[in-house]
């Protein structure tokens, strides 16, 4: 994420919330979308969530106290919003599986492997999924995540470890990776 917090803060102080939001969107849309997308899988759901995130940001940013980094706050809204939406979607995915191509071509193998990988991520419990996605795709530090998710670094490391083990186990069960 690349945002100029000082500039955004100045725009908010001047009352130009729309300009502030535009700066935030421009600097964060790709990263936040990737995180949401990896947590929610479906593009349309991810799109809805991301738009809702920015609307919440717009609503609440005048009250933001700047005690933490703006990016941390954005991550927190994103994760909370995504986990909230995922809860609504979770039930239908529990018994689902992915379509796998049977072709022997290496590129198709990899494509299938990625489908299974994404599916394995989508099967993780919400918090483990959030930790895994933030660490893996958002490249957040455990310290930063501890602030965002309000959880100890030790707990987050355990979550991440469990998430990786579950993904590996899923891929092994599908014979995507060897033991």
């Amino acid at each position: 994420m690349s945002i100029d917090e000082a500039q955004i803060r100045r725009l908010i102080a001047e009352g130009d919330l729309e300009a502030a939001l535009r700066k935030i969107i421009q600097g964060t849309k790709v990263t936040l979308y990737q995180i949401i997308r990896k947590m929610s899988v479906d593009h349309y759901l991810a799109d809805d969530i991301l738009q809702e995130v920015y609307i919440k940001v717009f609503r609440h940013i005048p009250k933001f106290e700047w005690n933490s980094a703006l990016t941390t706050w954005l991550y927190r809204i994103t994760i909370n919003e995504t986990m909230g939406q995922i809860k609504k979607e979770a039930r239908r995915k529990e018994s689902g599986d992915v379509e796998v191509d049977k072709a022997e071509d290496a590129s198709v193998d990899f494509e299938n492997a990625m489908k299974h990988f994404d599916h394995a991520v989508s099967l993780l419990p919400e918090r483990q999924r959030a930790v895994f996605v933030m660490k893996y795709y958002g490249e957040s530090s455990f310290r930063e995540m501890a602030e965002i998710l309000d959880q100890s670094e030790g707990g987050l490391k355990a979550n991440y470890h469990h998430a990786v083990q579950k993904i590996k186990a899923h891929l092994k069960s599908k014979e995507i990776i060897s033991s």
Binding site: E18, R22, K29, H43, D47, F58, R59, M114, K168, I176
Partner: protein, 128 residues
């Protein structure tokens, strides 16, 4: 395939199903939602409506309390009228009392009851 290979390549895999212009149009979609949706214009409008409703409510309460009361009061009624009135107050069985009403109109009786601040909805309903 090895886990390390999957792990390394998964990070780089492009996200499927993303429209090519998605990131170019996202900003305007959000801004349109803000302009046309519930924010902030609607919120302001809603606040205005709520304020107007509250003002009307305060006005009505004020009217109720400060308008001069009519002198229709059980204490100002004739002995006969008071008798009927208190019969109503003590006994809600209108079927029993109704034949004794004679000259009293329902409107008059209702007025007395309201003036006496009887808020028993059953009694009021039964008058109709």
């Amino acid at each position: 395939m090895k886990w390390e290979e999957i792990e390394k390549r998964a990070k780089k895999q492009p996200l499927s199903g993303v429209p090519t212009d998605y990131f170019d149009t996202l900003e305007e979609k959000v801004m349109n939602k803000i302009h046309e949706g519930s924010l902030p214009g609607n919120r302001v409008r809603l606040q205005k409506i709520l304020l107007q409703s509250a003002a009307v409510l305060v006005l009505l309460i004020g009217l109720f309390y400060f308008l001069p009361k009519s002198d229709l009061n059980p204490e100002n009624l004739s002995m006969e009228e008071q008798y009927y009135f208190y019969m109503y107050q003590e006994d809600l069985d209108l079927e029993e009392v109704w034949p004794e009403l004679d000259d009293l109109s329902v409107d008059t009786l209702e007025s007395w009851i309201l003036q006496a601040h009887i808020s028993d909805d059953i009694l009021i309903d039964e008058l109709y």
